[in-house]
Symmetry: C2
Subunit: 598 residues, 2 copies
Amino acid sequence: MTYRPPVRDMSFALNEIAGLKELCGSKAFPDLEPDLIEQVLEESGRMAGDLLAPLNWTGDQQGSQLGADGVKAPDGFADAYKQWFEAGWCSIPGDVNYGGQGLPLSLAVAVQEYINQANMAFGLCPMLSQGAVESLTQHGSDELRDKYLPKLLSGEWTGSMNLTEPQAGSDVGALKAKAEPVGDGTYKIKGTKIYITWGDHDMAENIIHLVLARLPDAPEGTKGVSLFLVPKFFVNDDGSLGDRNDVKCIGLEKKLGIHASPTCVMAYGEEEGAIGWLIGEENKGMRCMFTMMNNARLNVGMQGVGIAERAYQQALDYAMERKQGKAFTPYTDKPDGMSPIIDHPDVRRMLLTMKAMTEATRGICYANAVALDLEHNGEDEDKRKWGQGRAALLTPISKGFSTDVGVDVASIGIQIHGGMGFIEETGAAQHLRDSRIAPIYEGTNGIQAIDLVSRKLTMDGGKVIADFLDEIDQTAKSCSASNDEKLVTIGRELSQANATLRETTDWLLEALKSEATDALGGATPYLKMIGTVAGGAYLAKGALAAHPKAGEDSYLAGRVEMAAFYATNILPQAAGLKAPATSGAAGLYALSTDLLTS
Amino acid sequence: MTYRPPVRDMSFALNEIAGLKELCGSKAFPDLEPDLIEQVLEESGRMAGDLLAPLNWTGDQQGSQLGADGVKAPDGFADAYKQWFEAGWCSIPGDVNYGGQGLPLSLAVAVQEYINQANMAFGLCPMLSQGAVESLTQHGSDELRDKYLPKLLSGEWTGSMNLTEPQAGSDVGALKAKAEPVGDGTYKIKGTKIYITWGDHDMAENIIHLVLARLPDAPEGTKGVSLFLVPKFFVNDDGSLGDRNDVKCIGLEKKLGIHASPTCVMAYGEEEGAIGWLIGEENKGMRCMFTMMNNARLNVGMQGVGIAERAYQQALDYAMERKQGKAFTPYTDKPDGMSPIIDHPDVRRMLLTMKAMTEATRGICYANAVALDLEHNGEDEDKRKWGQGRAALLTPISKGFSTDVGVDVASIGIQIHGGMGFIEETGAAQHLRDSRIAPIYEGTNGIQAIDLVSRKLTMDGGKVIADFLDEIDQTAKSCSASNDEKLVTIGRELSQANATLRETTDWLLEALKSEATDALGGATPYLKMIGTVAGGAYLAKGALAAHPKAGEDSYLAGRVEMAAFYATNILPQAAGLKAPATSGAAGLYALSTDLLTS
């Protein structure tokens, strides 16, 4: 189970596909240089490989455990976490006024991909903290920020997100946790939250819980939800830790995967009452929560990419070692004895599919991250507005498409291992088990698809999606204008796929005007379709960037080949999704519930 | 985790889609009557539900255990197995001369589907025995048959298949186990076999192992492999059990799923030597093995169907109970409070997809089973020849397509459960874990695809596949000729999809003539394509059969709706697979192995 940080792949995707290099020396990032980007990628990748990857399998086998003192992470995790945050990897995108490094979010997202590759269960802890940091930075009072941000940002303390209750999952507005004003500016929080990732653990001195609850007489539904900061230990004015707050983990879920990551049932205010501080305004908690969620959604997308990369590497290594049968092909050496299974065309197709899907989703997610950087730190209002729209459009695609791909790729990884893939010790199965949560949490992929169709397509009167489709056409045209046969093929396939995507988008936009159910019924196939086309477009962008030097650099030549494989094998499958995306909802309800049960 | 045997769905698929009812009263099955079919389906379904389904989750949690006395199945399994075989469910298709019931194999396949729905891990035991029965029936000497068949057939004894060795997985010919003639007609078997399903257990008094091994000086590869019968306990001439043979389980694998089914490392001849008897001729073991395998391949396909059915039922029940959000659709009652999630269009699409894919694969597998019945028991030579070709063509599709669908459907089942789906206690995750082995064993799905393209398409000069495609066109035409709008839609979509399938088939047949690697490189997408179209064709057949009475019987109306959903949502996705199926192999090898690792 070796792991190699794919530094060049990630650097290429960040700079040549997503355009991070264009932020170098910009007003917001005056110190950002190509060398610095490389250095961060090199060093964080090496550390993920040396420190976190070896704990992935042991962490899965041991799992986090709940004892009398709370939750204990698997052996080695606490020490690894300390080394990780002390190296500064948690504070990359943070506000410099609070000790952050003020570097682009997109660079932090790439570092998060390494963690996900090396140890996805571990990676959830800094990921959740990052959400808390963003929410506090944007919505917290100066007092709260001064007190909590520096240590949250550095990673010395961690954060948790407390939304879900048994009756309130996708329907956040159904939550019942209560918050009563004490009169001194604090609130007493009472309620039980479930599915709280890293809600308790022994890796940090303090945990800062962000909790959604309802004030007395708050309006029903999402309009009556407020966000509170509830520290595990109170923090004295001098920054030292005081008493324990009335919050604890009362149970851990036994899950299919991410065993090392504790999924806690958290009890607030079972005894004297948990004390919390309001973040943002009363009853405006959903806005603050979406700040956490949007960041988390992209990072969950990165889990899909990360687990796909890890599963690919493991399957590749196996396919090069394992020998079975003789592969007689014009493309490989004549076999002397049995061939490594990578020489068989069917296995080769599986590996290329894994790799191409991984690179495609990485392109989407990194482009999303750079768009977020432009939203927050673009040079002018136009750039920021563009970044805001593009990031909003890409977020459900990053989350939904990449996590579905993560599951598919992990499953192909098992298949390449044959019988060995089903044996837990091999480790291939862990990737599938771990990957399977990502399409569910931070808004199920169904919710992402609905968000995409009902809220994102309509943004700015349809201009955001139109711009995106125009950009894809532009990429296709640039490919078609090349004198390279492979690029011409890529251009043709991309142009065709995008034309069908455009028709489908138009259909959905029309449907939204008359009967939204018809559009919502096609949302999931549409998300897969746009993800497939967008992935092809980003790979095509990479091919265009690589092509001029492809003759001298076999790595760059490989980027053209990979884009060509995707264009000829995967892109043509997008068109078939037009039918389900535009079939309307009537057919979904034609069978009565009675008949479905018979 | 309730389970309802889907009696009517299975009866409909067997009789109306696969045509079992046409075998009633035929020469080979004079006593077969529609009432008898119903009775078998009703009673075996009820027993699977009452007896086997409750042991599915407990069996997963406890698993089979290896102790000093060998392997112990999970609590309740031995008793359930006894009740199951005593009820006669193992001997349905068996030779009447050996105590079998002489009923169609297709009826036995349906009963096997119940077991797979109720408890897939349990079902592997009678499934493996069935393979041993067929091999012994077709290739064993009278002496061996007289001695072993009656109790194997009844289920009192069980069978195991011993092919795989560490270096010999897909490449069976690489096996090294040895067989030395003793001189008295017996052989001493020596070697280690891995991945032996139910290779040892405490559910039956004796286990009859069928073992592939090499005679001294046997030719290399598959041409030097012979098949031996090696009983766990010797059988005296009076039928009583004698001494223990030198064969034992020396290890169990820790697996992703099917925990209740022991996956054994089997040691033959570690001490004095294991005594075995030759089945069939020396060095002709592959032929005998394929008899076991072909039967097993269809039954593994049924595991895909069975697990899909179970996952669907569980997701459906959850979707009707779980309430989240308000679904405002023109197709459901106006919500009073929160809606059951089945009312949301996206969840509805997931459920219909699960159901439609389950029914489509069931149609393929049952048609395969009836073709096998015709092969062995057709009225005349033409029928038998037709059955032989059709069964050979459908077997890799049944196995490959249905097991991939099983994994996909189980995964959708988790998704419908949201966060609950990832919690093991819910049981939805078990279905995914269990389902994941089926694309691997009995010939990986890659091997199935290669078999389909390189051996099955070329059968009888291409006539077998041509007949099949013609039959699909005929079905499409019958639909198109209807005055029912839904049937016309089904006919149009089926006809279009089949046209693309035909072009793709022709391309592959041409490629096989010039460069086989090009065809093999497209084998996996082709298998998915033909599976998708065949599934649609069988659902269309069902719709045609149901339509005349659909006005009076809402169940039958539902079959038309289901076929229409498949035709408009799933069938159009088949065309997109033409590109990868016909892209040739050069692109698969364009990236060197070096570049794949960078």
